[in-house]
Amino acid sequence: MHIRLNEQWLQLTASCTVAELLQQQQIPPQGLAVAINNTVIAKRQWPAQQLNDNDCVNIFHIVTGG
């Protein structure tokens, strides 16, 4: 299946959860927020939240700012 991850198409060999996606992409989870199809997914739901074909996944992170 394919998902769109931060504006880039990504092929996944099997269905996976948000937590598994972060692990596969080697993205440390600290200071991150995830939205699927413009809905924010709570951190506690990451291990259970399955990704579906054509999902638009956006990952945001904390940066410095005033």
Partner: protein, 255 residues
């Protein structure tokens, strides 16, 4: 002690974390300022770039992290950014800021009030960056904001308390803490803000863009303390004519 929502702070200086030359300099300036609350922002992750670990050193300093909604141009975008921020930092505390125009970065009062009302209902502790408008500040207070953050001047402009007369009305009317945010360019501006009764000030550019941010952070800390102490002492009144501080007797009349 400064009380906002259910938390108390001994420092009345809030720091913005932007524009520092390095993360190390930012951490040193935070330590030198004695601040207990630091603002942060959100960005879309760039997958091909390694990230610095910004959060671990800040968490070790035991300070309240205050994510902002910078980048939001509407209430709807701000609410989305707020939900992201709450997950990213696991805190309901939020600096709400909505400024659609990048030239002056003036906060949109209508979108800010709409967003504030919704965010309070969603359980956020909302600290809105807003115009120095006494009516708007009252409305923000009425919808449940934990504080109001009116501007002294445009963000990063270092022009000081350009809105002074309005800030005085806001402070006089407020029943939530008034945190003067934006435009404070020198410790004297921060002292003046505290003297007029602000509960706290938020400073970023004036410290981060100074020649020595760590020393400047300390200078702002002293100014905030001096201004607060003067406010509590009660300033003497101003008047047009002179009043002598020494006795005006005619003891030299015999010469």
């Amino acid at each position: 002690m400064l009380r906002i929502a259910d938390k108390t702070f001994s420092s009345r200086l809030l720091l913005g974390s932007g524009k520092f030359a390095s993360p190390q300099l930012m951490q040193q300036a935070i330590a030198a300022s004695g601040t207990q609350m630091v603002t942060l922002a959100l960005k879309r992750l760039q997958l091909d770039k390694p990230q610095d670990d910004l959060l671990s050193p800040l968490k070790a300093m035991n300070i309240q992290l205050l994510p902002n909604t910078s980048g939001a141009k509407t209430a709807q975008e701000a609410i989305f950014a707020a939900e992201l921020a709450r997950e990213a930092l696991q805190t309901p505390w939020l600096k709400l800021e909505i400024h659609p125009d990048p030239r002056y970065l003036m906060p949109d009062p209508i979108e800010t009030l709409l967003a504030a009302e919704q965010l309070v209902k969603l359980g956020f502790v909302v600290l809105p960056y807003c115009s120095a408008d006494p009516v708007l500040c009252k409305r923000l207070e009425q919808v449940g904001c934990a504080a109001v953050m009116p501007l002294g001047a445009a963000i990063g402009s270092n022009q000081g308390l350009q809105t002074r007369a309005m800030l005085e009305i806001i402070v006089e009317q407020a029943t939530v803490p008034v945190i003067i945010d934006a435009g404070l360019g020198a410790p004297s501006h921060a002292a003046a803000a505290m003297e007029l009764g602000a509960a706290a000030v938020l400073v970023n550019t004036a410290i981060a863009a100074s020649a020595d941010p760590v020393v400047m952070a300390g200078a702002f800390s002293q100014a905030v303390n001096a201004g607060r102490t003067a406010y509590k002492a009660g300033l003497a009144t101003t008047q047009l004519h002179a009043t002598a501080s020494s006795p005006l007797t005619d003891f030299l009349a015999a010469l």
